[in-house]
Amino acid sequence: MTRRIVVHTLIYIVLIALSIFYLLPIYLMLLTGFKAFNQVDLKTMWALPNAGLHIQNFIAGYKQLAPNLTNSLVMVIPEAILSSLLGSLNGYLLAKWKFRSSNLIFSLILFGMFIPYQSILIPLVKFMQAIKLYGDIPGLVLVHIIYGIPITTLIFRNYYAGIETEILEAGRIDGASLMGLYRYIMFPLSAPSFAVVIIWQFTQAWNEFLFAVVLTNQSHWPVTVALNNLAGSQLVQWNVLMAATLLAALPTLLVYLFLGRYFLRGLMAGALKG
């Protein structure tokens, strides 16, 4: 048994060492976020803030970001929910209803994940203008939903493929239709997968900058654009920027801290299992 204790202790040491690696950047961000401007310097990076914790940075950062935080929330929450519903439907159909071209359709949809978004900015803006959804949050929601279709479909398809078809067969015998099977059998079983997709989409959309800055007008900017603007053009206030970065990352951070276990459970339940 002592061998076990030795091994476990070693494992703990390794885990703690790795944890330091993972936490170091956050520690640095916190440290810088609490410093006054003239103390911010690469040379004194690790020095603790003198003259107390400079909470003004967080207040200033919050004031700068507050209206945009609302924009981001209004954009991300509907987007995550809707794209997960759409992905779920698609994944269900493509996983369980193998009609002749289903694999082809899936491959064609999946390919959409791989395009570089910078190269389609111009036609995207022109199209959004043409359908009059340019400049405001609903348009950004639509764009995120559409570009999220490939990954959400992938995750759900994988997940549903791991569900035994016998369950559906039983429902079939009971006379359920295609959508009935979904509504009464598949959907209730989808919780882990929904957790994965919603959290993933939430994070992606929340941290996304390119579409946010190009597709929305100044009054509808999400928080990523406001954060970028804090970086300024000729003079960067690193202390406020770090504080604001932490604030902007707070929602996603909280999501991972508190809902991370559902994300993990979902992945472990086979959301992306082969």
């Binding site: 006054a36 401007f37 003239n38 310097d41 690469l42 040379k43 200033a60 950062g61 004031k63 700068q64 209206p67 945009n68 609302t70 924009n71 209004v74 954009m75 929450i77 509907p78 929910i81 809707l82 519903l85 900015l121 111009i122 803006v125 022109k126 203008q129 340019y134 400049g135 405001d136 949050i137 609903p138 929601v141 006379g175 359920a176 239709s177 959508m179 009935g180 509504r183 009464y184 800055v213 190009v214 007008n217 100044q218 009054s219 509808h220 900017w221 654009v225 406001a226 970028n228 603007n229 804090l230 970086a231 300024g232 053009s233 000729q234 003079l235 960067v236 206030q237 406020v240």
Partner: protein, 461 residues
């Protein structure tokens, strides 16, 4: 069975309802308040006057302290004079406006131009927006406001095409400034005076040897774009104003293949050998300038926006004492030369609110507007008749030089070369920095510069 179908239908209606509800989210307040302790004017939606003021969208990349304050001050002047309009400050940050230019280009392609936008005066405006037919000439405006008469004569041709001016310059920045720390020089036993003794680059390099021997960095350098900034000033210092201007004419009167360019490249390589090895990993230009004020480096060649960084009170600056903690001279070899860049505003074709744009341009061109903007931004007026007492000691010196020196245009900041050309040169400079910088690499670099001129510039192919 039917209940399931109904459920599905209701389910879809729920989806639709969520979509509608998401659009009814709270509207964000349209401000972009700068993060400073200075009393910044926000860009409000004025709820007072009836009818509601027409919005005028001004697009720039002035978001940081100093520049945002300057913009806010000019907006205040505007609001006082034109209460029937309200400015929507649509600034997007990003190094040298890279994000803003991307957004602007995308919007212009989609025919959704802002009411006016910031563009560097010179080729960045001419080759970009004028050639694409996206901005209108301003001859009448210049005549009716008398703006053309108060601009320095050397500036007017640089902002015009075929004799028609296309932008309203609001400020002038100087690129060829040598910032230095007198204490570091004294400690290294340097007796030369940067303000008078650097007539050629070799004089400068001799001093650098002394600094290096004393264990300090001679010339501090920052993020990659600062290398382009250094390059242009070394070239001017090597070949002089006329030959530098000659590189950019159509066709160039100074051959890119010439010995002058070769000498400039050799000097550039030598200058780079005196820089800090971690230059390209530094976040921007400020860290390099701070090396000088911290005493880790002797010299830094940077534009005059560094003055505000050194001298302004916290949190916008380091609150240092001029002539004691830091001092300035002109870049080595460029005495009597003013290497300028200028921010300007334009009048778009198909402007959404043309009267609003003209109002903005009027304020930007006016004495009051420029006097409000420039002291806070740290630049000098484009106009020659601004009240000099409003400005810092450095700016007053610069304003005197502006009227007396030979004026040349900056490469890094969009005056002399079209964006495609400048981009190619920037790539060539980056590749050169990444090389061994020996004679062979210098020859390759010159070849690359020649190729850039042929493919993107004004050389014959």
């Amino acid at each position: 069975m039917y209940s399931r179908k109904v459920n599905f239908a209701l389910f879809s209606l729920l989806i639709a309802a969520i979509l509608v509800l998401s659009a009814c989210g709270p509207a964000a307040t349209p401000t972009a308040a700068p993060v400073t302790q200075a009393p910044a004017t926000q860009a409000p939606v004025v709820p007072t006057a009836t009818p509601a003021p027409t919005p005028v969208e001004i697009f720039s990349w002035w978001v940081g302290p100093g520049e945002a304050d300057g913009l806010a001050a000019m907006i205040k002047v505007f609001n006082a004079q034109y209460p029937q309009y309200t400015i929507v400050n649509a600034a997007v940050a990003g190094g040298a406006g890279t994000n803003a230019k991307a957004v602007l280009a995308t919007r212009l392609q989609a025919n959704d131009a802002p009411d006016s936008w910031q563009a560097h005066a010179g080729q960045e405006t001419i080759a970009n927006y004028v050639t694409a037919g996206q901005v209108q000439p301003l001859d009448d405006f210049f005549k009716s406001t008398g703006f053309g008469a108060v601009l320095p004569p050397t500036l007017l041709p640089l902002i015009s095409k075929d004799g028609h001016p296309y932008s309203v310059p609001v400020n002038i920045h100087r690129s060829n400034v040598l910032w230095y720390n007198p204490k570091v020089l004294a400690a290294a036993g340097v007796t030369a005076n940067p303000k008078t003794d650097f007539k050629t680059l070799n004089d400068f390099f001799a001093v650098c040897d002394k600094i290096k021997a004393a264990g300090k960095v001679c010339l501090s350098l920052g993020a990659p774009w600062t290398a382009i900034h250094l390059f242009e000033n070394i070239m001017i210092g090597t070949m002089g104003a006329d030959k530098w201007n000659g590189l950019w004419t159509t066709p160039p009167t100074t051959d890119w293949n010439s010995a002058d360019v070769k000498a400039g490249i050799a000097n550039f390589a030598k200058a780079l050998s005196y820089t800090n090895s971690d230059a390209s990993t530094l976040p921007d230009w400020q860290t390099a300038s701070k090396m000088v004020s911290d005493g880790d480096a002797a010299f830094n060649i940077m534009g005059d926006w560094a003055y505000g960084y050194f001298a302004n009170p916290a949190p916008n600056g380091l609150a240092l004492k001029p002539h004691v903690d830091f001092d300035w001279a002109v870049a080595p070899g460029t005495y009597g030369i003013f290497n300028f860049l200028s921010d300007s505003f334009v009048l778009p074709v198909n402007a959404k609110h043309p009267d609003g744009t003209m109002a903005w341009l009027t304020v930007a061109a006016s004495k009051a507007g420029q006097e409000a903007f420039n002291p806070l931004k740290g630049s000098i007026c484009a106009r020659t008749d601004c009240d000099q007492s409003l400005f810092s000691e450095y700016s007053q010196d610069a304003a005197k030089d502006w009227t007396s020196n030979v004026v040349v245009g900056s490469l890094m900041h969009g005056v002399v070369a079209a964006p495609a050309w400048a981009n190619s040169i920037g790539t060539a400079i980056g590749l050169f920095q990444a090389s061994k910088m020996d004679a062979a690499a210098q020859a390759d670099f010159q070849k690359a510069l020649v190729a850039a001129c042929s493919s993107d510039g004004t050389c014959a192919k």
